[in-house]
Point group: C2
Chain length 186, copies 2
């Protein structure tokens, strides 16, 4: 079950390393990026992790929804890992416009292992195809949710956002989904 291993890998090799530092990175960022006062609410101090059911991942969020704009990156976090010295871990800050045109800042990215699930479903030698992919995404989501709920280092520092592919005809589907989750945290 590929998704089970990818969820553990995402936690052990990434979230467990970066989430404890997130609040400090955001504080350092706000100190040097004084232009905006729209970081309010606890949701904007968490890492928002997007999990689209169809594993269709963009490399730039504004390609999905023009109400989303890249703002800047959080400061780099450098960690020696498995022989690579000062391996860089970073997150991107995006500004998301609501229907009133007001901008909300948040730290958001797609769950990178879904790129592996997507590409594996396209490679015949990898052992699974498109029909199994949706099931694997759900298994990834549930496994990750379970791991994170039992993790002391990650408590309250993340939000998993499962994205249905039923509303993809709405050009502002992604910004609305992000804002709904941000506002839940107020």
């Amino acid at each position: 079950n590929v998704a089970h291993g990818l969820a553990w890998s995402f936690y052990l090799g990434y979230l467990r390393l970066v989430l404890p530092h997130l609040e400090d990175s955001i504080a350092a960022f706000r100190a040097t990026h004084q232009s905006s006062s729209t970081w309010r609410g606890r949701g904007s101090r968490k890492l928002l992790v997007l999990i689209p059911l169809n594993a269709n991942i963009s490399h730039k969020l504004e390609d999905e929804d023009d109400n989303i704009r890249f703002y800047d990156n959080l400061p780099n976090n450098e960690i020696d890992r498995a022989g690579v010295r000062g391996r860089v871990y970073k997150h991107s800050v995006y500004r998301v416009l609501d229907e009133n045109g007001k901008a909300h800042e948040c730290v958001v990215e797609y769950a990178t292992p879904l790129l592996t699930l997507y590409s594996m479903s396209q490679e015949s030698s990898a052992g699974f195809g498109e029909p199994e992919r949706r099931q694997q995404v759900l298994l990834f989501y549930r496994t990750l949710q379970d791991i994170l709920e039992h993790s002391l280092e990650c408590r309250n520092r993340y939000k998993l956002i499962l994205l249905d592919d039923k509303h993809e005809d709405d050009p502002h589907f992604l910004s609305k989904a992000i804002l709904r989750h941000l506002q839940q945290q107020e």
Copy 2:
């Protein structure tokens, strides 16, 4: 089978992205690091990937063997990935001393997914323990070997070095293993 998914993830999310650029990065590095003439042989223009059977991974190679020293990092390679803008991919260059005290430079690192296998074997809720771990490392190695042999983007740009744990009482086991593989390429 966790190792199968981790091998595909390592290829699709890393080797396939970085190996095509490796030769250019090494050329740029040599142009700015004129101190040494010991890059000879095709082995030193490949990424050496260390795969220890016991999944025991160090974050700094010199911790394993004092005949190995960190030299510098190759130039950063920045790629937009899954919402993270300019995610950094880099490799470390190490100098490895032979028994004559002569230094050989090479780009070497451990296969990072083995850290996930190791940590999963320590977490009771992850579903596998230490006895299965060695089998999983072998499966990782064979799956990766198979994928890479069929990859046009990666041909001739890597060397997988499987490390037995039987000689760990030799303080220069790692440098000798690396040199043996480097010299095979002459």
